[in-house]
Amino acid sequence: MKVSLFVTCLIDMFQSDVGRDTVELLEHLGCEVDFPEGQTCCGQPAYNSGYLKESMESMKHMINVFQDSEYVVTPSGSCGTMFHEYPNIFAGDAEWEPKAIELANKTYELTQFIVEVLKVEDVGASLPARATYHTSCHMTRLLGVKEAPLTLLKNVKGLEFTELPDKHNCCGFGGTFSVKMSQISEHMVDEKVRHVESTKADILVGADAGCLMNIGGRISRTGKPIEVMHIATVLNSRK
């Protein structure tokens, strides 16, 4: 199966190892992965800040970049959600709405793609550790992907899984919120870190680089002995 990777700008620049894990994982599952080189950012930072015009230019660009792809797979629930928002944003635009719908229809978050399209529930990974999972808001509420990451994690050999208390509460990232309202964000992320600690997990797993940068950054600042790991990395572990 041919898959185009939408790696997201955060992973491209700050967590390139997550991108590598995603490629290796998909290839391990028999996919042929290509990386349309023109890709930039889904436009979410500008869109969510109210800069509609600015964001629409990046959206149009991304629509063009992935025009010929059969499947678009992304290791980010939030950026994947953004592609799924494009049809609403271009609603009524005769030229771009159909293209936006086409892109949305073929875009999958990584774990969603593995479970729903590849029909795989055990990727053959193994990682001996105690882990908990952060359910990111856009992925669960807007994209509606709730079970896929848990299904895959539960089949990772050696991984002892504990549910995160109050998992429904946002970690306080919220894109520009994290810098605009950093005082509020601090209290939100602190509560999240307290909950992670309460699970006694060695690893916090998540499917969104933004949330993980936020929670991980706070964990690192406060010196907690918890490793933060993207789900692609967990699923690509063969320890």
């Binding site: 620049m13 700050f14 930039t40 969510n48 109210g50 600015e54 919220g174 605009k180 950093s182 601090e186």
Partner: protein, 476 residues
Amino acid sequence: MGMKIGTAAFKERVDQGLSDSFMRGAVSAAQGRLRDGRLNAAEELGNWEDWRSHGEEIRKHTLEHLDYYLEMLVDNVSKRGGHVFFAQTAEEANEYITNVVKKKGAKKIVKSKSMVTEEISMNEALEKIGCDVVESDLGEWILQVDDHDPPSHIVAPALHKNKEQIRDVFRDKLGYKNSEKPEELALFAREQLREEFLAAEVGITGCNFAIADSGTVTLVTNEGNARMATTLPKTQITVMGMERIVPSWEEMEVLVSLLTRAAVGQKLTSYITALTGPKGEGDVDGPEEFHLVVVDNGRSKILGTEFQEALHCIRCAACINVCPVYRHVGGHSYGSIYPGPIGAVLSPLLGGYDDYKELPYASTLCAACTEACPVKIPLHELLIKHRQKIVEKEGKAPVFESLSMKAFRMGTASPTMYNIGSKLAPKMMKPFVKEDKIANGPGPLKNWTSIRDFPAPSNERFRDWFKNREKEESKS
């Protein structure tokens, strides 16, 4: 009091909220209870998503035909001998209400819970003409006794207080001598309020739903205070926001089913009071005179705009009960009697951006509000629409932000610019990297690194790794 609470700047209010550990404890505990209650009640009902869609359709239809249903309501209230007044502004509403009270020569007024009367500062207007206005909703009454502490939640106005604090208010202000047990506190309040009900000459209520085709106003309470306020005093005035209307009893039943479950996790509240006009011939109780005041106060300006769905709100506070920002800052931080996600949408619409421009940004757009709303208002999307308005039409965005967004457009709409930018960024950040992280970021990163570390850029961008790998593969 009006819609606006206090004069402190947003940041100051938030600081105050964040440092109030009593309030935060009370709020997070209440959020847990109310959220669980709503989810259980929804599950018990079954087909919750269908109910929500039905609720959404009803609200959408009603608001699209608001003029038609308001006219029907007026006709039916009038037929039953009630008086209806349309108030375009808060001042017009208060003038009408104070005139009714003056004509009756009334001094003692008992109120059941109403947000719209808070919004129009009705109590102050009545106090100005020498009336004693007593709140009869327990939460509202606690706040009134506590020197008019503003409400922090639209359903549970005293949510920010715990039982010990309520005991202290009663003790300090009213000489209460018993414990902080809720039963004892409630008994004390009941004894005090019973006297007020018996003495009141005018009862004033809000309105959950006005039923257009019968001219009925309905009130949803758990304490029964609205029933007391509508049966004992000789004159009743009901004040409603102009959108608080349903076509018929059939739609009212759907919305009440959604309201009580979404608000407090109950199948039904203890009391649903429905009142159609004044006391008729042969009726044992009910008011002799009935006035319905329909308040616009900025609502009609919202009709027909991209924000019309904000008027679909049935004031259940489900969005507030799940909001992770509200959880930490509390209701007073919003500076409006309408806090939380719906408050962040509604307050700038009713009160303007000058006072409320920060509220649309006081959200991570996590969409917990949108998911919880029983009539499917896309709250987080409306917050984005506010941001668009602030940026494009109001020109109120910070200069630095608009510059960075222009840079964003250049960097993301063209792969060449993205390439240059994403190659350059790591080099520029390099001086700040220590032990694989940035603890003291420059410029816009400063606010990030004030509380958390920022990752050092990857040594090799993903795209470079991928390209090199392809090259190697083609060689071999």
